[in-house]
Amino acid sequence: MAQSGAPAASGRRLTRRNNLVGWAFTSPFLAIFGVFLALPIVASLIVSFTDFDLGDISNPVGTDFIGLSNYSEALADPKFRKAAFNTGLFVVFGVPLTILLGLAASVALNSGIRRFRALFRVGYYLPVVTSIVAIAVIWRFMLQPEGGVVNVMLGYLGMEGPNWLGSSTFAMPSIIALGVWRNMGFVMVILLAALQGIDEQYYDAAKVDGARPWQTFRYVTLPLLRPGMLFAAVITSIGYLQVMEEPFVMTAGGPLNSTLTLTMYVYEQGFHFFNLGYASAMAYLLFIAIALLTALQFRVLRTQT
């Protein structure tokens, strides 16, 4: 397609040369990509149908295909269900909150704030670039029941804060809040760019039609932000479905598994107990959830335009 200038006469030799050049550019990538990215996706599915465990790594002959047993076992496993439920909570509450706060921040910075805008943007984006592990350690420090800065501040306001991470009621909400805090800056930056890309004409037209600020936002800005919101929602959800560092560092999944997530449980089954077949089956269920949620978001956010 690109080589419109090439004469058609020397066709065949040229095609071969083109193929050679094309493959020379792509094959080093494809080798690594194939072995370490694409292949494991298929291999994970195969392993999920087996009873692969630690001994099978050195001697795979002992592995048996056990059909869908791992899957039915997972679906009946109360700990898996709990992990799936917690991960669901993280997505169902975390994603909308992250998008909403990111949207609010981007609109505020784009329309109301002129001075120090760069400072605010950098500040809000700061948590996105830092290690989740470090952030989780810092928040664990701040959320201590006694003397943690969060409860001390609540105390100044006359409220008594709970034992955030030690209570099975508050631990998961705390971890969701942390996820929202860390990722809203990402949504903000995406939507800021989208806002700045909106053609001035739309606003002029709205003004001519006598639209009030809220109407302009609702019927002009918001629909035009839809592609940016779709992108942000997809990326955020894929990330949230795999949440792991926060509970790993802050609560170790507790108390009473109230913060156990799917990725944590896959890790635990796979690399503490070395039930590798079982871990793969659970990972594949997670994969299906990621695919379904992504497809759903494309549906919802695309068609409403």
């Binding site: 990215l37 605010f120 700045q196 992504t294």
Partner: protein, 296 residues
Amino acid sequence: MSVEASQGGRTDLEVTHHRSRRFPAGNWWLYVLVSLGLVVMVGPFVWMILGSFKSQAELLSVPPTWLPANFSGDNFQRLFERLDFPRYFLNSTVVAGFITLANVAFASMVGYALAKLSFAGRKTVLLLVLLTLMVPPAGPITIVPLFILMSKLNLVNSYAAVILPFAAGPFGVFLMRQFISTIPDDVLDAARVDGASEWTVFRRIVLPLLGPGLAALGIFTFLQAWNGFLWPLVVLTSDEMYTLPVALATFAREGQYQADYGLLMAGSCMVVIPVVVVFLVLQRHFTQSIAMTGIK
């Protein structure tokens, strides 16, 4: 800031105008709100730095002190005695450095081939790249077979084991393909007519045009690699190979019940501050480039 203001100037002026008509006192309340938000976003990092200089006794005092009674480097000294942080730092740098180099090289080359070369199998390669965009490299979905593979290759607990699954990411390829597609064919054809090989066209014409895009991809990839956790946790089995996040998380979990927060805050500083410095220096690149990747 100044560039920003001149770019978005028209919108800003108009909207401010609107607002000031409705709120005679201007939009000071919005500044208050956004500033409170800033405190919430940046405050924890300030608290981390302050905490890292406080003594254990001071950290346990209720109510807590705001500023350290005396700035002591004691936590950092103890941290370096207990944990080999220079080593973790080296590990993280090597791992993130190689991952970044590989991605930048692969993304530009493959991106060029997919955007501007016609060869048998091009569409298949593109489709593969698009299909895998949704599956994060070495995430929960693929860690099990990857671990088995690394065991077979005798690579468990090596730099190569951490690097390889992230070296050829589909995201960069996709991004660079989008970028390179916008380069007009005429420019490339002119060079081809003059007898330039595809490699020369790539090196001399395409690559220089990719500067900002590649810088953005590089920064983005480096950060992701630097902060990566799950796969290094799985495949690195001995302390001297740990990357910074793995070392910090392992240490934090040991002290789950009687945490030494002085040490933990000092450790967090070691993980966070280099990244924050890089971010502040390159922030303009950053926020703009990430937005750019999002909208395309």
